[in-house]
């Protein structure tokens, strides 16, 4: 029971790291980034490449892989999303085009990774991070990578939440989400803020990707899609663009899925997320934690 709870919290932490970036991109820039899962796996792949010959230690690997993931997402922003936002003033057309671009990018990234890994699951060597297990009495225990994941998720979640609420950059992001034209009139370099936001979103996916590759001992291209779908459920339950909503619902869904696997019909685990999406969209499409919404005239 306690062990299940620990597992759920660790899983929820990975989901938090993963879905915060997705929520940020959708909430501020109308990008439903279906390449987010591929970027996440890409970071795991970079980890594998950097550590397979035991040349790089953990912390530099973590940093390089996260930055690489951020850079890939930034490249998408600069090559495609920025241009689409400028040239397709109709919001619906822009959203569709950005969605399509992200599908294309997911294909490209996934294809590159699966080629380099011969379409098999890839595992960073054990030497990349030496895992210790601390016993908490009986058969219950927690490993150092699990602790690291939870701590990283808490730090990132608090920093992002406070950053968005209280800093100058955070205000610019929220203003941009509501009205980019006016925000730029006020002296905000909207293009730079958007680029920084996408970079951050990608780097967060990367961070989650590296940690998960070490924690699970391996990843494959399909891993990204599984996480993407769970993250959809998190966004919908938490409310798109709501940082706190995403954090709370990440842990809720992790608990629900862990419970289904441990005590229920475990093969229906994937069904939990989809069912939640459908139910939430029907009952409360603005999400559990959405605040007052202002519609722009």
């Amino acid at each position: 029971m306690l062990q299940q709870l620990i597992n759920a919290i660790v899983f929820g932490s990975v989901l938090t790291l993963f879905s915060l970036g997705l929520s940020l991109a959708w909430g501020t820039l109308d990008v439903l980034n279906l390449a987010h899962g591929a970027v996440f796996v890409f970071a795991g792949f970079i980890t594998y490449e950097l550590t397979k010959d035991s040349t790089m230690s953990f912390v530099p690997t973590l940093i390089v892989a996260s930055l690489a993931a951020g850079a890939v997402t930034l490249a998408l922003e600069l090559v495609a999303f920025r241009r689409i936002r400028l040239h397709f003033p109709a919001r619906r057309q822009a959203e569709l085009s950005m969605l399509v671009v992200s599908v294309g990018a997911a294909t490209v990234i996934g294809e590159v990774v699966s080629h380099q890994t011969s379409e098999a699951a890839f595992s960073p060597p054990a030497s990349a991070f030496s895992i210790h297990r601390y016993s908490l009495g009986g058969s219950v225990g927690i490993t150092n990578i699990q602790i690291l994941i939870v701590v990283a998720a808490i730090i990132v979640a608090v920093a992002l939440d406070q950053g968005i609420r209280r800093t100058r950059y955070g205000r610019a992001i929220r203003a941009l989400a509501y009205d980019p034209t006016t925000t730029q009139l006020l002296g905000v370099n909207v293009g730079a803020v958007a680029a920084a936001t996408m970079f951050l979103a990608g780097a967060l996916a990367g961070l989650a990707g590296v940690m998960l590759a070490i924690y699970l001992g391996g990843e494959e291209v399909a891993t990204g899609q599984d996480y993407l779908l769970t993250a959809f459920a998190i966004l919908i339950v938490g409310g798109v663009g709501s940082i706190r909503g995403a954090i709370v619902s990440a842990y809720l869904i992790a608990l629900a899925e862990t419970a289904v696997v441990a005590y229920g019909p475990s093969q229906w685990r994937d069904g939990v997320a989809f069912l939640l999406i459908l139910v939430m969209l029907l009952v409360r499409p603005q999400g559990l934690f959405a605040r007052r919404r202002f519609q722009r005239a």
Partner: protein
Amino acid sequence: MAIASISSWYAGNETLIQNILIYALLAFSVQVVLRAGVFSLAGIGFYAIGSYTAALLLKKGWPTVPSILAAVLLCILLGYLLALLLVRLRDLYLAMATVAFDLMVGVVATNWTGLTGGPLGVTGIPLVMGTLPIFLTAVGAMLLLGLLQRGVLGRSFEAIREDEPLALTLAIDTSRYRHFAFVISCVLGCLAGAYHALLFGTIEPTDAGFELIVLALSMVIIGGFRSWAGALLGAILLTWLPLELTSVGSWLNLVYGGLMIVLATWLPGGLLDALRALLRLPARLRLLLRSPSSLAATGEERG
């Protein structure tokens, strides 16, 4: 002589043609909704529902036509119910909900072992389908979609896509049109799935997964989402190219992905639009030579 060579070519490429027709139906199911501004990818879920329904009924001893008809009726019913459920959703939310629906269908197909055969899928389906019925269905679908693109109906769909509040003020019953497009999409997806199952004899629960969503969307976007002809072009290219470009082999998906990025960013009308622009080029050049300012004044835009 000519007839003989055509028929021998046909014999050598029958599977390719069948595949193109089936994928065209699937691509139509995505195109018909996108054109109306409804971001639904539910057609892929109905591909699975259609294939299972028709195949299982056929294996129970139902005749071919009633099996397919039953699958279509079920899809109309389910499609209408889903449309009612999702009526409040727009844009990205709808896209996400319908993707979730598709994957949910996959989960059910994998886990409801008693009905669907579970992860192993369905095998030994009688091969009762020929090319002609599929061809006729595809032509019928093209006629229907062509009709939907023209006249009052076509303009209404366009109005809904471009500006739904405005369309409402023009007394266009937008939700009725949206439902209509949605159900048509479900039926086309359903037919594609049913034909595929009855033509090739096997179903796996993973057939209609994320990859099929990506493939169908790629066809429509690469070909051009504004017209059924674009969807058809996409279906032909993406079914035929992999066979031709065996040297590129497994890098082909990379090409599709790159093409989708490029087209969505620079050419949202897809290859069909590019083709049309190319055909118009001589006329435009003549116009340009006669009065250079008439073209220069249009299309100028500052970023």
